[in-house]
């Protein structure tokens, strides 16, 4: 394995952004660009997935993979909540909210892993973006159930919840683009390839640069006084989630790339869709904690250590 494979440009840009912000450089990325890149990644990932499964036979194995993904998202908040209540000083509402983040997934972490697979020409099941979309929101429901059982006040009725789960912006765009890619098939690919394929690695570099800046700034603004046990959780939990994801991927017989992506999904923690949902549904939980853990600790850990680990483990386990 070359240096380039272990530390690809996108990861180095993450490190560059992180280092710059940690050293208080004035390097910064406009908010609108960050938002644009995240829309772009979701659109590109969704379209690529849809175009891929439009090919004959490509949807074989989709249903079991979806079921594993949904089960992972819905169930992982339980051990996460247990761990948090047993080993950290978090109150019930905040612990429930944090557990939702770790059951759910991160689109950018997934994109970074896809970037790695592409760079090493490792194939993976085309339907994985659908699994990604399906894993975004079940964890939110589980966490709210936990919170209600724990007596925390949740706001919003069943209708608001349903909207949050099915109409969350990321879910809509990922699934919508997936469907459009699937309907468009080869024709869509011919037209859109330069946009969704050729630009992908560069856009990922730029986005990870900004994520590095954001993570380091967050750590500076809000990281002080962060409990060591919480930091421990934010590193341990992705290892547990990744291992369970790996097992799930093997269970349903995914390819090497697919197993690696399933492990990365299990390991990843949401920092876009879930925080916004928690702010609305569980207002008493402390956003300062959950955004910091998932964005400023787990995300960097996954980008720097988690992704290479799980892709390597997937290779080992599927040989």
């Amino acid at each position: 394995m070359s240096f380039f494979e272990i530390l690809p440009p996108s990861v180095l840009f993450f490190a560059l952004g992180f280092a710059a912000a940690a050293l208080r450089s004035d390097l910064s990325v406009p908010d609108a660009l960050a938002k644009t890149l995240s829309l772009y990644l979701m659109m590109a990932i969704g379209l690529k997935g849809g175009i891929a499964i439009a090919q004959p036979g490509a949807s074989a194995g989709l249903v079991p993979a979806l079921m594993v993904g949904i089960a992972l998202s819905a169930l992982m908040p339980l051990p996460a909540y247990g761990l948090l209540r047993a080993a950290t000083p978090l109150d019930k509402a905040t612990a429930a909210a944090v557990s939702a983040h770790y059951g759910s997934v991160s689109v950018v972490t997934f994109a970074a892993a896809v970037g790695q697979l592409n760079a090493t020409n490792t194939p993976y099941e085309g339907f994985m973006p659908a699994v990604l979309a399906a894993m975004e929101t079940p964890a939110i429901l589980t966490a709210l159930l936990i919170a209600r059982r724990g007596g925390a006040a949740t706001s919003g009725g069943a209708k608001e919840m349903a909207r949050e789960v099915f109409l969350n912006g990321s879910v809509v765009l990922l699934l919508g683009a997936f469907l459009i890619g699937w309907l468009g098939g080869a024709g869509a690919e011919r037209q859109l390839a330069p946009f969704i394929t050729a630009l992908f690695p560069g856009a990922l570099c730029l986005f990870l640069l900004e994520m590095g800046i954001t993570a380091a700034r967050r750590l500076r603004d809000r990281g002080r006084g962060l409990d060591a046990r919480l930091i421990g959780f934010a590193i341990l939990m992705p290892l547990i989630g990744g291992a369970v994801g790996l097992a799930g991927g093997l269970l349903v017989g995914l390819s090497t790339g697919g197993v690696g992506l399933m492990a990365v999904l299990g390991a990843s923690a949401s920092y876009i869709a879930v925080p916004a949902a928690m702010r609305l549904a569980l207002p008493s939980a402390d956003a300062g904690i959950y955004v910091t853990l998932s964005l400023a600790i787990t995300f960097p850990f996954n980008v720097l250590a988690g992704i290479p680990l799980w892709l390597w483990a997937a290779r080992l386990a599927t040989q």
């Binding site: 908010d31 960050a34 995240s38 994520m211 954001t214 700034r217 967050r218 603004d221 809000r222 920092y271 876009i272 869709a273 879930v274 925080p275 916004a276 928690m278 702010r279 609305l280 207002p283 956003a287 300062g288 955004v291 964005l295």
Partner: protein, 100 residues
């Protein structure tokens, strides 16, 4: 010129709609929402533009009659349910009495 009240509320962007709906219900004839770049309060620093938007604040400005203003502030419970960070009230004068 006519005497009115100027209500200024800093609140999380995700909860701004709860505040404006309250203002509507209490009889305010209008409101204006301004963006916020950053702020500090009991929660520490909140900087706009985090990926999920949970740190974004806005400033809601409402010019209204003393009556409506006191109704809004009397709905303290509901208003604070939207968790506004700050609510201030100032006296002001307006040009067009019929507009507020």
């Amino acid at each position: 010129m006519h005497a009115r009240k100027r209500i200024e509320i800093v609140v999380e962007a995700v909860r701004a709609e709860a505040v404006t709906l309250l203002l509507d219900r209490m009889g305010a004839t209008g409101w204006t929402i301004l963006p916020v770049l950053a702020g500090r309060g009991h929660q520490g620093i909140r900087r706009a533009g985090d990926p999920g938007g949970v740190d974004d604040n806005v400033l809601v400005l409402c010019i209204t009659s003393a009556e409506v203003a006191s109704r809004v502030l009397a709905a303290e419970g509901e208003l604070l349910g939207a968790r506004p960070a700050i609510v201030t009230l100032t006296d002001c004068q307006v040009l067009r009495a019929d507009h507020f």
